[in-house]
């Protein structure tokens, strides 16, 4: 299989207006060009990426990235976003993987991304799972509804800021974080709390 730079150049040459970035071992695609790029990868005779192996959503909270550029420490504030990672292989040519990433704008509510289910039927359940657990709405998906949690469930459990329901009333041997959660159910201590003295 060709290298990432070669693939990137070929895609940019074949489709006007498409710009990709390379991060690590993956190509980063903007959401407006995702379907075109995926279609190109699938139809190209050299690559023949006919098998979408893995579709995974990742939640990135707003964070500050420190890098070193031109001998100076640079800090960049990256806003929070959700990301979907695609791993493509080729069954015809028996090569791969080719990793694509696509990011949403922000992570409030249910941000949307195009769905690749019309091109790859195997993405159907995996996109439903990303919707159920992360709240990414896939436009063009034939049947987008919850798959693992029940239909009336609100909130998206795999997000980093999800707080699970509190059923820690009975914890025989708690420790670490579970101890903190269990303590909220313990009876008040026998000794009276110390009242602060009035300021002079």
């Amino acid at each position: 299989m060709e290298s990432l730079e070669e693939i990137k150049d070929r895609i940019e040459a074949a489709m006007a207006g498409v710009r990709l970035a390379i991060e690590g071992k993956s190509l980063v695609v903007g959401r407006q060009h995702l379907l075109d790029v995926v279609r190109f990868l699938k139809d190209d005779t050299g690559l023949a990426m006919d098998y979408c192996s893995n579709l995974c959503a990742v939640d990135w909270l707003p964070r500050t990235i420190k890098t070193r550029e031109c001998d100076r420490d640079v800090q960049r504030d990256v806003p929070g976003h959700l990301e979907v990672v695609y791993d493509f292989y080729s069954m015809a040519k028996k090569h791969g993987p080719l990793q694509l990433r696509c990011r949403t704008e922000g992570r409030e509510g249910t941000p949307s991304l195009p769905s690749i289910t019309p091109l790859f039927r195997g993405a159907e359940f995996q996109e439903r799972e990303a919707f159920d657990l992360y709240g990414i709405r896939f436009e063009g998906h034939p049947d987008l509804r919850r798959i693992l949690m029940w239909d009336g469930f609100k909130s998206f459990p795999m997000r980093k800021d999800y707080r699970p329901p509190d059923d820690y009333e009975y914890e025989p041997t708690p420790h670490d974080e579970v101890l903190e959660k269990a303590k909220q159910h313990w009876p008040a201590p026998a000794s009276a709390p110390v009242t602060p003295s009035k300021p002079a």
């Binding site: 029940w150 909130s155 329901p165 059923d167 009975y170 914890e171 579970v178 201590p189």
Partner: protein
């Protein structure tokens, strides 16, 4: 009414068997417990292994796994009970006719097990239905399940048909349709059955 054991043995040697109606009834029930075929997760495989040739629970009478709850008298809750599955478990338990028993097999059915800190895991099936025997283990060996069936058989031997501690099957006041939880927005509603689930109060030394 207690029988004189030596008299019983003497008569048995002569070929005369003496028992009480209760004893006979319980003997019949305990030696032909029909489990409900209800495997949820990994413990179900050990349950199947206990029913297969090597461990063979058929010799204890629990051979016939009935798929229909109407024909079963033992529900072996084998595996993790999730909040999505919990209403179905309670409904199935309601559909079983009295007298009925529950074995909670495995750490997950007892208290949530290794998956306890889960948004979808019910921390123990005894939050909603009464459990007779708990089997610890992850998964418990098939021999442990056989031990549980024998323990249940010993419990059934002690059942009373009359009197203050009579069997739930004969006590209309104790019989109840266990309430089925509903799917709420973030959790089951109610999260547990407060009439049923009374965890022992834990005394903490030096609570801060």
């Amino acid at each position: 009414m207690a029988m004189d054991e030596s008299l019983k043995n003497e008569l048995q040697k002569a070929g005369v068997f003496i028992t009480s109606v209760e004893g006979l009834y319980n003997w019949g029930r305990k030696n032909s417990i029909w489990p409900l075929q209800f495997g949820l997760a990994c413990c179900a495989i050990e349950m199947i292994a206990a029913a297969c040739a090597r461990y063979d629970q058929a010799r204890f009478g629990a051979e016939v796994f009935r798929p229909s709850p109407r024909q079963a008298d033992l529900m072996i809750v084998a595996g993790t009970v999730t909040k999505k599955m919990a209403p179905q478990v309670v409904r199935l338990f309601n559909q079983m006719p009295e007298p009925k028993y529950v074995i909670a097999m495995g750490a997950c059915a007892i208290s949530g097990g290794p998956f306890k800190e889960g948004y979808n895991v019910l921390k123990g099936i005894d939050r909603f239905i009464p459990v007779d025997v708990h089997i610890p283990g992850c998964p418990p060996r098939p021999e442990a399940l056989l031990h549980a069936i024998i323990t249940l058989q010993k419990q059934i031997e002690q059942d009373h048909l009359t009197g203050k501690h009579k069997l739930r099957a004969y006590d209309r006041e104790q019989q109840t349709e266990w309430p089925v939880p509903a799917y709420g927005e973030h959790d089951l509603e109610p999260p547990c059955n407060p009439e049923l689930w009374h965890p022992a109060p834990l005394v903490r030394e030096g609570v801060k």
